[in-house]
């Protein structure tokens, strides 16, 4: 469906993307993961045909990305891009018109989208009176007006309450079930884990890993335990496996987590260590990202 081939982009002296290549299958929900400033938004803007001065190629259905293919793409920007002085239906109509919808077709589609984003009751209210979550939903709605095949969502849930976030997740799942391709960029990795089938990790403009979420978890996730307490001798712990410092404690990767936990308890008893936390850690994408880049997604 979508092929990104050797894409690079510079902002004056800063390298935003460096030789990025990957493939997105039709109908998949594809996660783009990386910390702030990793190059996700730049890549999203390239895919949305907003940025043109890049090197490399982007193909949609084996055809090179051109402005004419914009109709296939719906772009949900990170910023809330709405006309505050217009109503919800006014904003939807504006974006619908930009994609050539007119008359009855436009009206019907706007009503349909209002239902999808659950804003029917506020259809005629000015956007300036909306909550952050409602604006986010309308922001998504505007990108759905022309029924795009591909939906690009750039940090679509930033700064909203959990209720609105859950509502957006339900919406995304519905869009996914319609068979549309979703490209979802976020630095909230739990969202990507929840929604996406495939994922690419980007750090400092470079693709560090890509693949199906389950495959990556199988490939990289070594069983590990988290230990927190005082005082813990780091050198002693290293005899049980690889140790990295995290969240005020240590992550110990081992192939025999239960055995190591038993040993750790014995060790703590013997050395009068006050143990605050000792738990088996489920493998997460965040840990994979951390082990690949040595940096946290959220700083």
């Amino acid at each position: 469906m979508l092929n990104i081939s050797n894409v690079s982009k510079h902002y004056e002296k800063t390298k935003a993307l460096d030789d990025v290549s990957f493939h997105i299958s039709k109908g998949s929900c594809f996660g783009l993961v990386g910390p702030n400033g990793a190059g996700k938004s730049t890549l999203m803007k390239i895919l949305a045909s907003i940025i043109h001065d890049y090197t490399g190629d982007v193909f949609i259905d084996n055809k090179i990305l051109t402005p004419e293919q914009k109709e296939k793409i719906g772009y949900v920007p990170q910023d809330i891009c709405l006309e505050e002085g217009l109503s919800a239906i006014g904003n939807l109509s504006l974006f619908g018109k930009l994609y050539g919808l007119t008359g009855k077709k436009l009206k019907l589609r706007a009503i349909e989208v209002l239902k999808q984003i659950n804003l029917e009751k506020r259809a005629n209210d000015k956007v300036s009176t909306f909550s952050g979550g409602m604006k986010r939903r309308l922001n998504i709605g505007c990108s759905l007006m022309h029924n795009p095949d591909i939906l690009i969502m750039d940090e679509a849930t930033v700064g909203i309450d959990p209720q609105s976030r859950n509502y957006i997740f339900q919406m995304i799942n519905r869009i996914k079930n319609d068979g549309r391709t979703i490209i979802y960029a976020s630095h909230y990795i739990e969202e990507v884990e929840l929604l996406c089938d495939e994922v690419v990790f980007i750090d400092s403009g470079v693709v560090v890993e890509k693949g199906a979420v389950n495959d990556l978890l199988k490939q990289y996730a070594t069983p590990s335990i988290f230990i927190k307490g005082t005082p813990i001798n780091l050198d002693k712990m290293k005899q049980y496996g690889d140790v990295v410092s995290k969240k005020g404690g240590y992550i110990l990767s081992t192939n025999e987590p239960l055995q190591v936990m038993e040993n750790m308890i014995a060790y703590c008893r013997e050395h009068v260590i006050e143990l605050e936390q000792l738990e088996l850690v489920q493998p997460r994408l965040e840990d994979i990202f951390f082990s690949l880049t040595g940096s946290e997604l959220r700083e």
């Binding site: 907003i50 004419e68 772009y75 002085g85 930009l98």
Partner: protein
């Protein structure tokens, strides 16, 4: 483009600040200055002052539309709206045109209202209405084209505000909109020939009095048109930079 144009027009019609800047303030200034300058004068001088002040203030205040144009373009750029529109099939230059056209309409209405006010309240002559209409259209084009160029060139709203003051007030001072042109120092008179305000003011005064000849009118229209086209060309050349700023 039509969708953008209608949205922009709706936004502006809802904006009470724009109504104040474009209509109420000019009327207040006109009334105030006419009262000051005609306090102890005979009827002939009074009429001369009024016939000079009304077109002068019309020409001066139309330039304040640049503030609104700078504000709307800068807000769109900083909010990400320009980039958002760039992701749609709307061609970038149609976005610019869609944003620009409502200001043409607003400035034209402003000129109409201010001249009508002059006619109703001070009974100023409007001897050549067709000429005044054509002049108004050309002045509207020139002012909004300068506004468009300023809007896509400035980095911040404050910078736009400062430039507008220079263009509107500096231009008014140098073009003889505040004091009679022939009473200005020679160097200022020379500078005024390069400013659209001078040409527009002279032509408006002559058309109101009914003694503009066609060669003078044609010269004025040509000058206003050329300045407008220069503004447009500048805006078109600077637009990619403006779009880039919106994206980053």
């Amino acid at each position: 483009m039509r969708a953008i144009m209608i949205t922009e027009l709706k936004k502006n019609l809802q904006d009470k600040g724009l109504l104040f800047w474009m209509v109420i303030l000019p009327i207040l200034f006109t009334v105030l200055f006419i009262a000051i300058f005609t306090g102890n004068t005979d009827e002939t001088t009074r009429k001369q002052v009024i016939v000079s002040i009304i077109p002068g203030y019309v020409v001066m205040f139309v330039f304040f539309i640049i503030i609104s144009m700078v504000s709307t373009f800068n807000k769109d750029r900083d909010k990400g709206m320009t980039a958002r529109f760039a992701s749609t099939p709307l061609r970038p230059y149609f976005y610019m045109l869609g944003k620009w056209l409502p200001y043409m309409f607003i400035v034209f209405i402003q000129i109409f209202v201010l001249l009508l006010f002059g006619k109703i309240v001070y009974n100023v002559p409007l001897e050549q209405p067709m000429v005044l209409l054509i002049l108004s259209i050309f002045l509207t084009f020139t002012v909004t084209a300068i506004g468009l160029a300023t809007a896509v060139m400035v980095k911040t709203e404050n910078m736009g505000l400062a430039i507008t003051q220079i263009i509107a007030l500096g231009g008014a001072m140098l073009s003889g909109l505040w004091i009679p042109h022939d009473m200005m120092p020679d160097f200022m008179q020379t500078i005024s020939y390069f400013l659209p305000q001078f040409w527009a003011h002279q032509a408006f005064q002559d058309a109101m009095a009914g003694n503009i000849n066609y060669s003078d009118l044609f010269q004025t229209l040509l000058i206003l048109f050329c300045i407008g086209v220069a503004g447009f060309v500048l805006a078109i050349f600077r637009y990619p930079v403006f779009l880039k700023r919106s994206v980053t």
